[in-house]
Symmetry: C2
Subunit: 814 residues, 2 copies
């Protein structure tokens, strides 16, 4: 265990152990299943929602508050006047012991003060729409003790955006019910909602509160709620204002005795025809059935066991053992865990994403699948169907859709011209992983032609031709509103501060072109051609090939600056990312995508481009997006120039694109560089930088401030970033080189010697491969030999048709 100031990894338990409540930022964990989700910080702050963080917010959370991380599911102990939380906050009482263990789908808090220990384990069971809190209070003293245990949470009035804005209505709508030890939140249930939430405990109450002002007090806060300080709830009934749920339990403990209570906070949907059990009284039957499934400590513990078993199984599908425990920790536990979270959340709800802005992104979610397809391929299949359903028959796509409705977000619309080709990546990766070739013929109508039985293959073809049909003056792809770099807005020219850089646009005459999309088109265009051939659509493949070839030519002719690839042509057809520019001379995206596409491997351009990346963009904390930073706003370039130098797209380290360079370096066979870039931003390798980084040391962040920033190496926007899926993809498929293909698993490592020999267990479709990779003393790129079950094999592919059981693979590297 490597201890830092703030905590350490406990790999055996798949936990990160936070050892202080006072982390540089709240360090959160995600809980969730197919519908119910929670964010929970290392002090039990955060909130819960059902499916959609904007429209079905269940508990209230206040972003960017003072103090940070305000609001959560707080438990309080009042031990004869000494008041504290097992999570170490918000009460300021210093604990004798504190730890928070963020695990796979659960968080555990252990607090101890004056011989009372409380262990709070919070999780969302696999199958129910509820959050379970198993709370054990132990008297570690030699004498009998009486303490009071309080629970507390604040309800959100469902629509999180409205909840924070429309007070002239909302302060009059709050309604609750109490029955037994369950507090029911039924605001707006009387009208258009067929759902409510509740908070219960499996013990009789000494008191309760449902009105915030009564529980907290008018000028108190959650660090000193009046009822808790007074040692007695007021049994308040909320009508309007701010409904809360707080239980009071008076707990008598003999010396050494422990008592465990189970609190359940749940969400229930009711059939409209069975909304009421009596006039004005909500139908509590489904809630009671749910509560009954967790009404003993044993049941709660069994559900937690089911959850941890589930994660053990999920993570067993790909495990690695190398000489570097940090690599193993990253790939076996945390990167995969983050992949599932990004897959579920897209960019909707984190400590930095307020849950009321972005829905599921077409670009984001397609990419997120590449880190997740090996874990739950069926979920990826469903997600791709949802995404494809928002695509238009011309190949364009809604840039986002709302998870609750699955409808495209008309406010944002489409015309982000990289969007279509990401679908090719997602589908190809899914089919390679799953072997589900029939999916390519699955019917998913385009959004604008619901009557036409279009197949997934038709969607890929539409994506391909969307690029072909939207070329600019240099025969390079038109960028539209933006490509992957949302902030490079070449067709907007905004001078009004309240207008969107992306959705305020000139119109059809926009001629700016993107080298990033060019590379992306070549890379995934070749993939499309492979799929066409796989399906026997030879004519399609033949038709498509010249477009790809022409794009390669266009890149070489118009996209090469001399030492690296240009980034784009602006609306005046002037190059961006050129040595002729004063600022923004070189960008990472086109270097990554053109090289990943294989452009310039034949003539040295790829190597030269990557050398230029190292020379101009790489720094201690990662690879910067571009250099030199823009010192002034340029309306021709848009939002990228709006950021202070060193932050975000303006020369920050935008981690999402760093693995593109890792992949490219691996393709080029430079194992040391590939590993170096990978380890500069991968959390397990930079634990020593935590104080500078500030964000959680167990997950990737979207951005790390670059060389031009006031504070370099400071991370922001942790958790919800394509960085997770892409780094996992780069590390497993290009560094370890375990690469699914249509006909089997290719083994093509690019492995730095420092990682030593490596053992991998890989579940692939219905097969399980135990793969031993031995260093060969050479470049580390590609294999010198491979045996399967002791038999030499030609080439580097494990043919799935032949080897679909459990097999031993031994590989020696070049």
């Amino acid at each position: 265990m490597t201890a830092s100031t703030f905590g350490y990894f406990d790999d055996a338990n798949k936990e990160y152990v936070v050892t202080t409540p006072f982390t540089p930022l709240p360090w959160i964990n995600y809980l969730g299943n197919d519908g119910f989700f929670g964010l929970i910080s290392n002090t039990s702050g955060g909130y819960s929602f059902y499916r959609d963080a904007k429209f079905r917010r269940i508990t209230r959370y206040r972003y960017n508050n003072v103090p940070m991380d305000s609001g959560g599911r707080y438990f309080y102990i009042n031990d004869n006047g000494t008041v504290w939380n097992p999570g170490g906050r918000p009460v300021r009482t210093e604990l004798d012991h504190y730890e928070c263990r963020h695990g796979m789908g659960y968080s555990k808090f252990i607090g101890r003060k004056n011989d009372i220990e409380v262990e709070q384990t919070t999780f969302i069971p696999l199958k129910d729409w509820c959050e379970v809190h198993r709370v054990t209070v132990t008297n570690q003293s030699a004498a009998k003790k009486s303490v009071k245990l309080f629970s507390s949470l604040e309800w959100c009035l469902w629509n999180a955006e409205d909840d924070g804005a429309n007070f002239q209505r909302n302060f009059s709508t709050g309604e609750v019910e109490l029955e037994g030890s369950a507090i029911y939140h039924k605001t707006e249930y009387r009208e258009r909602r067929n759902h409510y939430s509740f908070f219960s405990v499996n013990a009789p109450l000494a008191g309760y509160d449902t009105d915030r002002q009564h529980f907290v007090g008018v000028y108190n806060d959650y660090s000193c709620p009046k009822a808790v300080m007074d040692g007695a709830c007021t049994n308040s009934e909320a009508h309007g204002w701010s409904p809360v749920a707080a239980h009071q339990l008076d707990v008598e403990l003999a010396a050494g005795e422990s008592k465990t209570f189970v609190f359940v906070m749940g969400y229930v949907e009711v059939e409209p025809e069975n909304k009421w059990q009596a006039p004005g009284v909500i139908n509590k039957q489904p809630a009671k059935a749910l509560i009954a499934r967790y009404d003993t400590a044993e049941k709660a513990s069994a559900a937690l066991k089911t959850l941890t078993d589930y994660w053990d199984e999920l993570l067993s599908r790909f495990t690695v053992k190398s000489d570097d425990e940090r690599l193993d920790r990253a790939l076996n536990i945390w990167n995969q865990y983050q992949n599932m979270v990004t897959f579920n959340m897209s960019r909707s709800a984190s400590y930095f994403e307020s849950g009321i802005g972005r829905g599921m992104g077409f670009r984001d979610s397609n990419q997120d699948t590449i880190g997740f397809a090996h874990m739950i391929p069926s979920a990826v299949r469903e997600r791709i169907i949802d995404l494809a359903a928002t695509q238009q028959s011309d190949g364009s796509a809604y840039h986002q859709y709302q998870p609750l409705t699955k409808k495209g977000n008309a406010d944002i619309g489409g015309n982000f011209n990289d969007d279509p080709m990401w679908l090719v990546l997602a589908v190809a990766n899914y089919v390679k992983e799953s072997g589900d070739v029939s999916f390519l013929k699955h019917i998913v109508p385009f959004e604008d032609t619901p009557e036409v039985p279009s197949t997934i293959y038709d969607h890929l073809k539409a994506s391909f031709y969307h690029v072909v049909n939207n070329l600019g003056p240099h025969k390079l792809p038109l960028i539209g509103r933006a490509d992957w770099n949302d902030c490079l807005n070449l067709n907007c020219f905004s001078t009004e501060p309240n207008e969107s850089y992306q959705t305020t646009q000139r119109g059809d005459s926009d001629v700016a072109e993107s080298l990033m999309i060019a590379g992306q088109f070549v890379l995934y265009g070749n993939e499309f051609i492979a799929i066409a051939k796989l399906l026997g659509f030879e004519a399609d493949a033949v038709d498509a090939q010249p477009h790809v070839d022409a794009m390669v030519s266009a890149v070489k002719e118009h996209g090469w600056d001399g030492e690296w690839f240009l980034r784009a042509y602006d609306s005046q057809s002037q190059p961006i990312g050129s040595s002729n520019n004063n600022e923004g001379k070189i960008f990472i995206e086109s270097q990554g995508f053109c090289t990943m596409a294989g452009i310039g491997f034949d003539d040295g351009k790829a190597k030269q481009a990557l050398d230029s990346v190292e020379k101009h963009l790489a720094c201690e904390y990662g690879v910067m997006l571009q250099q030199p930073a823009f010192s002034e706003y340029n309306p021709l370039y848009g939002e990228i120039t709006s950021y202070p130098p060193g932050y975000k797209e303006n020369a920050g380290i935008f981690c999402h694109n760093n693995p593109w360079i890792v992949v490219a370096e691996a393709m080029l066979g430079r194992a040391d560089k590939a590993l170096s870039y990978y380890t500069r931003i991968t959390p397990a390798f930079i634990e020593h930088l935590t104080e500078r980084h500030k964000t959680e040391p167990y997950v990737y962040s979207q951005m790390i401030s670059g060389r031009d920033a006031y504070i370099q190496g400071e991370a922001k926007n942790s958790w919800l970033t394509g960085t997770a899926a892409w780094n996992y993809y780069a590390a497993t498929q290009y560094i370890l080189g375990i690469r699914p293909d249509y006909n089997g698993l290719q083994i093509d490592p690019c492995l730095d010697a420092s990682l030593g020999d490596i053992n991998i267990t890989r579940q692939f479709r219905d097969a399980v491969y135990h793969i031993e990779i031995k260093q060969g003393g050479g470049t580390g790129k590609g294999i010198a030999s491979m045996t399967i079950d002791g038999v030499d094999v030609d080439g580097d592919v494990i043919d799935y048709q032949k080897f679909n059981g459990e097999h031993e693979i031994k590989v020696v590297l070049n």
Copy 2:
């Protein structure tokens, strides 16, 4: 002075004196001029903005926070480790003395602890876009003392909505500069903003902070900011995250000595071509010029004097002296003050209106003018022009517009069918007050025909015919999306919780009709006819009259339920507000508007309707909107049935419409009832209910919970409500009966004997009238005799043509 638990009125100083920081809700005051505005609570909480609370928020405020009222311009004293605020919060140190004096455009805080007294006077000068804080620290002890004085505020990143949602961007954009003792907030100035803000003090700094985490500390809050507790700022430089402005002054005071500091927080717009004084360094010239105007205690005090003189003059235009000081207090000070605030703010920014929702309302703002036209008629003229410019040539209007752009809000659109006729009220009232008949010929094109030189009169005509052209099956006005009662949604049928009740609509076949608009049409239709005649447009008057007459007939034939007026016909043409309904049998709006329109004065219906109001709707705390309350949601009626019984439109006391009944009772000559309804909801008369009411005891609230509520008589949504203008209008024009007309001032009181004899000073256009009203021992309705300058006058009108100087009027009532 009538003391309550929380404070008292100081009429001589035109102040309300709050005597505890711990009021039931934050009790706020408004500061402002033509561009710069502030909300300030009795503990100096609140925020500032330039012109538009959504798009130009200057300081950050967190609504519905825990504790309530979080964020503000806080001053801190650290007196050798004892830390406190002159405003009594957010530090929890109990003061030896606290008072907050909310005055006309300023708030003064006096705090005392351990022989140190701090007086903080905060105001916005009449002419500059800044907030001035004059802070005097006095050593009341007999020994020398050294204390540290800290200032603190948190910048909002301009767009208040984005500031609370888009953290993945906003945490990277914050930028500041420091020069001398001024901290400059320049976030986004580098890109599309040509404006910045600053916070300065006229003394050298012992320290400063511009980064919140450094000043407050990571897990501290404004009740214990780390730098203040430590006694030393850290001189932090904000880059991203949350920029703040905090000054530290080390103050040495001899025994008995006082020192005064002037802090100025201002907003500056810069010409785009002069944005920078050096690369990356903002042009501070305009800020320095502004700061220089308030850089001594004397200058600050002089500006405050100018402000109080201004208010003394404004309020001198209409003063009353009666036997009831509460009436005088209401009409001479607080109601007029609230009228100006509602005129300025519409419904945009209060403790209940978050400033990011509603803009200026067409309906609201037209009505707000009727309480304000006598104060600054020229401002009303400009407002009417802005409003008329959002009207369409068919008479319909955008329901709201944004104050910064003056553009109609397309999200909300139009089709609220009461909107058009409010323009008639506003224009008529303005012309009567000002005598500015030429305004009727002022050119203001309709929004959809910018090339046509339409006059204000054309707008009124379009309003009139918008009703005529939108009649339903009973020849009553179609209600459209809603009439004045936004929550009576008869054409929507919403069953989805996230859709708007008003803007989700069926379409053109909507047949629901409104008796409220019917009464409104008769009342202001007659006014339109009078205006046509005034301008000599006799043909228009002749054409219009039959439409008004037909409406009166339609009301009598289809709008009378037997004992009161119906409220509406729903989309099925079934009556609402009928004894045949199970709930919602009687509504206030149609009783008010049909009787104010004079309908049923000839046949007893008006009296019977008002008797029914008294019998069914009146209760101790005011007149409820309807009875019986709706117990269930009814999609045919919409939002009104969404509220729990007793709240808001669902049988709450919606104060805005209570004065309609006051006016109607006064027209009917029932002085006791008119006064009774008026005093039930008028703040000065119900100070004893403050603990129940909770809202500020000096201003009206939008709503008081009704008889069906869990807690009756609890007020909500104080300050920004049409209640202010309408009560002032009812009390001055119908109880006192001082009523402007086109040709002069009509004197037609309806005065309860309890008010005794009354003396009024009324500035009317360029005349000043000193009016003495003597009780006549009769009904109190209308006058028995009137003399002007000692000469008997026929009738009840002071003819302005004859009497346009200063005159003595003596009136004896019937």
